[in-house]
């Protein structure tokens, strides 16, 4: 009886500790700032609200996915860091409009692998014509449960790094390809 109570209390303690774990910080999702390129695209880029993500207001935060607001904020910061555009702002009105859709994000519960697939496209602000588009995949593997039994922050950090990798791929491709497609 006492053993059962003790086991239950340990499990409850672990859940409560994990439940109090702070969510991933947006700055953890932003790729390390590279050397800024000179403003190549002398236009404003409006970053439309991200679609497809899920809210993180879940008790089981360890398996909650990246939500739209967090992703949008990280996206804004990453794009501003590139220095590619004259101005990057949130909204749907600009010379160019970036639309982002989180196609898929999944976590395996056993091996703790987080996968992320995101679609991005840049459209002309005047007529909505697609000027550039791309899909990017990222994943990151985890450690086994027994080495991180109560460290639910670990999975949160892995998710942040996966988002960071996806944004890095996106901004690199955009910097390389968009100026050419605008010519």
């Amino acid at each position: 009886m006492r053993i059962h109570v003790a086991i239950c209390l340990w499990i409850l303690a672990g859940v409560l500790i994990g439940g109090c774990t702070p969510l991933v910080r947006v700055e953890d999702m932003v790729p390390a700032q590279m050397a800024k390129v000179p403003i190549v695209v002398d236009k404003t880029l409006a970053v439309a609200p991200v679609r497809g993500g899920e809210p993180s207001e879940s008790f089981l935060r360890v398996i909650a996915n990246a939500d739209n607001a967090e992703y949008a904020e990280a996206l804004l910061r990453a794009l501003r860091n590139t220095g590619l555009f004259r101005e990057v702002l949130a909204g749907e009105r600009g010379d160019l409009v970036l639309r982002t859709e989180i196609i898929s994000q999944k976590t395996t519960l056993g091996s703790k692998i987080y996968t992320l697939l995101v679609h991005y496209d840049v459209r002309a602000g005047t007529n909505g014509r697609v000027l550039w588009r791309g899909n990017f995949y990222s994943d990151m593997a985890g450690l086994d449960l027994f080495t991180n039994a109560f460290d639910q922050t670990w999975l949160v950090r892995v998710r942040a790094r996966t988002v960071q990798d996806n944004l890095r791929q996106f901004t690199a491709a955009l910097t390389d390809e968009l100026p050419r497609s605008l010519k």
Binding site: I103, S104, K106, T108, G110, H119, V130, N135, Y137, D139
Partner: protein, 172 residues
Amino acid sequence: MLSLSRSFVLLGALMVSASAYAERPLLWLNEGVDLNGRQFEIAPVMEVDRQADDTGATSGLQQKLTEHLAALGVLASAARADGNRVIVVCRVMKYARGSVAGRWVGGGLGAAYIIVRVMLLDGGSHALLGDMVSVQEIAGGGLFSIGAEKTVTSNAAEEIAKAIAQRQKAAR
């Protein structure tokens, strides 16, 4: 209150039931893409994870996917580049055959899993038509999970084919 032994049995049952992890892949389609009436051709499955190729997971996935698409009646009959064809490009991003012993212990040890990224390309222009990720995992079950490395591959092929079929039906 349950005895200690019964508690472990219940815990083991919960682990087995919760350990077969499979999510139905969501097939994303580009704007204006209609898969209705199109035939599918499977490109050679490629692996990013070297282990997948060594264990035959890539060939297994290709074979199973071919069978499932043929059963759905959408497999292209002969290689020919035209706009009616859709090329299915599968890349095994991660794969692990795991171990029975690890799956008996549980907690993610010995988990067998496969992660496949699937891209649908237009047979003529090779433009990207669709995209999705299939994630399959078996993380527990002990002796009952013998062959899990083949099961996850088979499950992935089945769900990819079903996702394609769903999109075709939705277009009708």
